[in-house]
């Protein structure tokens, strides 16, 4: 296996870590020095040749090779067996439906939300439970970080340059979770995208930060979703009709399961109960234009269609919290994309 990237010689481990800082290759945290042995192990675990092009980012005219992805995955602290997930995610970044340039560059400051489904999630010990979006799990922490380092180092998505996020959010360090398929009231998410339950897949979504809501006063789906809808009606990107992810944690999952609510029931309810009048959206300056009499009666939906609500089961078994995650922009700019994770 021949690696073609430029090499740098340093005196010791500390010097290697410092060189990565000096050269602007990190996200602000220390990285694992990318040595030949580690990079080759990463490529072998992915079944990839170094020169294999995983993605071509059209707007930037950048070819993303397996070698560069492996180097960044090493730096992020990934185990070699994570490589197939990272490779599939990088492939998805280049999908025209995802529209890399918009969400990566925009002042909106979206992160790449990653949802992993299939048997690989448990095998890699990807967290789908307690402290879902927080720290504590190597796979969650480093797989998302590897993708961000690829964006930074290979595709040139540098803050203040081709990443012009006004605020950004913590998910830009890592934003990778698994679905709790075992306890979910619904079929695994990737089966809604045409995959079999026993296949492995990753779904990516250009996303703002999770917005948490609590409902401890109701034990019905309508009650939980009434709270969710109240929070969602005027939320980031409302008037541009992006997709939204909805992540329901354990106690809320149980409520849907007991009531026999399908994923489609949740989508339909939220679609119907997050509509605003055009007048309301104009009053809060989320739609342009002068108020017209008919605006008080004209309804405007949060998303284009119920299927644009990506309903996911994940989070701690205890607790009355769930979250929604608004997508970046509108669907004409970026949509969620699901890719199979291929194992060698």
């Amino acid at each position: 296996m021949e690696l073609k990237s430029r090499r740098h010689t340093v005196s010791d481990l500390a010097g290697a870590i410092e060189l990565c800082y000096t050269n602007g290759w990190t996200d602000g945290l220390p990285v694992v020095p990318p040595t030949a042995e580690r990079i080759e192990a990463m490529l072998e675990a992915g079944g990839l040749e170094p020169g294999h092009e995983l993605a071509f980012i059209e707007n930037r005219q950048v070819s993303v090779t397996a070698e560069k992805v492996a180097i960044n995955a090493v730096m992020a602290g990934c185990k070699a067996e994570y490589m197939p997930v990272i490779a599939a995610t990088v492939e998805a970044l280049a999908d025209p439906l995802y529209g890399y340039h918009g969400p990566a560059t925009s002042t909106g400051g979206a992160a790449v939300f990653m949802l992993v489904n299939g048997p690989i999630a448990a095998r890699l010990e990807l967290n789908s439970g307690d402290n879902l979006f927080g720290p504590g799990w190597r796979a969650n922490a480093t797989i998302g970080r590897a993708v961000r380092l690829v964006m930074r180092n290979v595709i040139g998505t540098l803050p203040g340059e081709l990443d012009r996020s006004a605020l950004g959010h913590g998910g830009k360090y890592t934003f990778c979770i698994a679905e709790n398929e075992q306890n979910s009231p619904w079929a695994a998410f990737h089966t809604t995208r045409g995959f079999r339950a026993d296949q492995n897949a990753v779904t990516i979504f250009a996303a703002y930060a999770p917005h948490q809501f609590s409902n401890r006063l109701s034990a019905t789906p309508e009650g939980v979703l009434a709270t969710a809808c109240a929070h969602m009606k005027i939320s980031a990107g409302s008037a541009r009709q992006p997709q939204y992810a909805m992540v329901f944690a354990g106690e809320h999952q149980t409520i849907f399961a007991k009531a026999g609510w399908a994923r489609e029931d949740v989508q339909r309810y939220v679609f119907e109960n997050t509509k605003n009048t055009v007048a309301e959206l104009k009053r809060v300056h989320m739609l342009a234009g002068e108020l017209a009499a008919e605006d008080e009666k004209t309804m405007y939906t949060l998303v284009e269609q119920p299927q644009d609500l990506l309903v996911v089961a994940a989070g701690g078994r205890a607790g009355v919290q769930s979250a929604f995650i608004p997508g970046w922009g509108g669907k004409n700019g970026s949509q969620s994309v699901t890719r199979e994770i291929r194992l060698p």
Partner: protein, 94 residues
């Protein structure tokens, strides 16, 4: 003990890009305007076209809207620009 690490960044490859020659004057040219979909983008571009026509002798303008601010202009409008315009004004309005 010295260690060797590998560069994680894209290494620049030489590439030739052919640019169209810039016009010597805007007199008599047809202006293409690329509306990037942002609020007021069209207003800004139409004002620019007005100045180019009034003060610099451009003879006409054509404005078309992209599908998304983050995407390149789609093939249909590129063909319209090629058929009907001599110069293009593209900018980000917001």
């Amino acid at each position: 003990m010295a260690i060797q690490i590998y560069d994680p960044t894209t290494e620049v490859a030489d590439r030739h890009i052919a640019f169209v020659r810039r016009p010597q004057s805007l007199k008599g040219v047809r202006i293409g305007l690329v509306d990037n979909t942002k609020h007021n983008s069209d207003q800004l571009l139409l004002r620019i076209a007005g100045i180019l026509e009034r003060d610099h002798g451009a003879k006409a303008h054509l404005i078309r809207k992209k599908k998304s601010a983050g995407a390149a202009p789609h093939a249909e409008i590129v063909e319209e620009y090629k058929a009907n315009c001599d110069v293009i004004v593209a900018g980000v309005g917001d």
